[in-house]
Subunit: 386 residues, 2 copies
């Protein structure tokens, strides 16, 4: 099968290299910006790709939403399989693209959009396809944040130094806002919800990043035998869905705490299979490109979709779960929280473990205290190994 | 697709329940022993299954090798897809069954035979199919041994008490020899080699179980921040293959050390994807049955094989790798080993870390010392997180 590429950046270069080495796939035209077509196989107009009757699949690795969406619709309308590594595109337009692909009898796959090299969505979709009932999913879905947390914990770096290290290694963008705030991880949770339940939560999502995490928090958690990870989580209960991203404190001897550097971890829990956890490289040229190639190989084997039929937007409910939270806040602010345990804190600072409460309640409380100018750190307390 | 079952034990009951609940699969006849056909859907002759023209796939969950092999050949010859959870059958006859399935254009899948509910072989086969180059694989592939090691380490039980606990929970057989000696895990490593490289190593395999591990070893390793796991490993170097099962001492903060109870962990390393690790339930009715259902769903999607074409037996080479080993032996026996570090040992006992040496050399040394009546424990020393 001849495969066209949209975009020729870090991942695109890797995908083309692998296509050239593949015994079953053929490297086709690559769409680049006008003026950048310095090779015979580079083209600057989508029509040149769609006019090539041999192109069976189009791979989008250009990023952004609007142009990528136009190209996706054009490729699917023209009866070409469509594979993307673009989580923003999928989070924004999965229902429409899935419906169009089904109508045209072609594939719409996006294994590289969640977990990079970790084959999470594929396995999740396969569990659903085999009739298993997925009840929850989540994981460490942003390698930049994990690199920073790990550098703070194992190398004793402060937040700013760890962030600058992540940037110099190319893990973090010049503007790392979407990573640090949990937005990137949340988009991946949304894709997991789509694969697991055919629901794309667009409202009611809760998100807390790692910007408030400090070296003092590292030390306080280490004394409890715990490490902090930024973890996404989605849970389905009685047809209602909760989806969020939060710092989470895990036992030091847990798979999540053992995820180092910019590694990723993704898990799902299903009625029959139990909990399945996958670890690997969440980003990078070759891991991400390998996920694209696995999708293309899946297409050759007959795979067509990662989504249950009729995937649709929904509203998530932040009040659905009850979790304990580890909180660091000014001593004066702690009284509003029901504490199960108090830990030793710096002067004027409370460190405590709350009684089980809804994610919505702690997020609202933290937002209100921050609105009053207070410094707050909070993180879900993982009861079991995570 | 109508699915017939061979065998109706622990896993078979789970598979039938899931078939009855499946929207895409239909529960067909179930082969049981003569005299046990107490339901209309139970049959006692393979012919009754093959005479049912609606049966599209046959699932073997009866165990044993000879009868299972006859039935497998009969099913494939009759043009039926064949799915098995039987690692002994696959380790013994994969090349012949794969060739027969290919000739008949039907599927031969055995995802449940390695890792139970953990979708290891499927992902490994898919990585290979997408052109990625697998260089090594391994993991914790025997839940019984892991339960025993974990009970010794976290609950302070001695070996006999931990084994008896595993038996009372139904994890260990009345004769647990194949588990404790590493034979069961080694069979799964062999299946991994078949999926990764199309090679079924039948000679030159190295195997050390957990029978020599003691409470004193637990304490000595804990003092080093390490835990013991029984791990399989296979590595391909320049067309030569090493495949073995050995106790392995891992850092306490590693994913392997975080595998508790009867959990499994399986990993592969590939040139493009990097290392991918999967964790989950390695055995049990529903996890294993869920793996069978995933194979059947894969057949509906077009999956036909987990093996590269031309899978063939080969000889493994125990001299291929070089690893450091943690060794406990009588002080008088230690002189024959080149030690990089000496640890504190009980009176008359040496505890040491060897310089890198071949697996063949340490296995031969241990066999010779045991032949002389000495008590030896040795375990590979995991350099990185495992």
């Amino acid at each position: 099968m001849k495969v066209a590429l949209l975009g020729y950046g870090t991942v695109g270069v890797g995908v083309r290299q692998m296509l050239l080495a593949s015994p079953t796939l053929e490297a086709g035209p690559v769409l680049v910006r006008p003026g950048k077509a310095d090779e015979s196989w580079k083209v600057t107009a989508m029509e040149e790709i769609l006019d090539d009757g041999e192109v069976g699949a189009v791979v989008e690795v250009m990023g952004g939403v609007d142009a990528a969406y136009r190209y996706a619709k054009a490729a699917l309308t023209a009866g070409r399989h469509f594979v993307t590594a673009n989580k923003m595109l999928v989070a924004a337009h999965a229902p429409a693209l899935a419906a169009l692909a089904e109508e045209k009898g072609v594939a719409f796959l996006f294994g590289a959009a969640c977990g990079g090299g970790v084959p999470f969505l594929h396995n999740l979709a396969r569990a659903v396809g085999s009739g298993d009932d997925v009840t929850a999913l989540g994981g460490i879905l942003n390698g930049t944040c994990n690199y920073i947390l790990d550098a703070m914990e194992r190398r004793g770096q402060d937040f700013a130094r760890a962030l600058s290290g992540a940037q110099s290694l190319g893990y973090a963008e010049a503007d790392p806002g979407a990573d640090l705030s949990g937005l990137d991880a949340l988009r991946k949770v949304v894709l997991g919800c789509a694969a697991a339940w055919g629901l794309l939560p667009t409202e009611g999502l809760l998100r807390e990043g790692i910007e408030s995490f400090t070296a003092a928090d590292v030390a306080a958690l280490a004394a409890l035998g715990r490490r902090c990870r930024l973890m996404g989580r989605a849970e389905m209960q009685g047809g209602r869905l909760c989806a969020l991203v939060e710092p989470t404190v895990c036992p030091a001897a847990s798979p999540a705490a053992a995820v180092l550097e910019n590694g990723n971890l993704a898990w799902y829990r299903a009625k029959n299979a139990g909990q399945i956890t996958l670890l690997g490289q969440g980003a990078g040229r070759y891991p991400t490109a390998s996920a694209v190639l696995r999708d293309l190989e899946g297409i050759l084997e007959g795979e067509r979709s990662m989504l249950p039929r009729g995937c649709r937007p929904c509203r998530a409910e932040g009040g659905l779960l009850r979790r304990r939270y580890y909180v660091r806040c000014p001593g004066s602010a702690a009284a509003a929280l029901e504490a199960e345990r108090h830990f030793e804190g710096e002067a004027g600072t409370a460190r405590l473990l709350t009684a089980p409460m809804t994610p919505a309640a702690i997020h609202q409380w933290a937002a209100a205290r921050r609105g009053a100018g207070e410094e707050i750190f909070f993180a879900a307390w993982e009861e079991e190994e995570c």
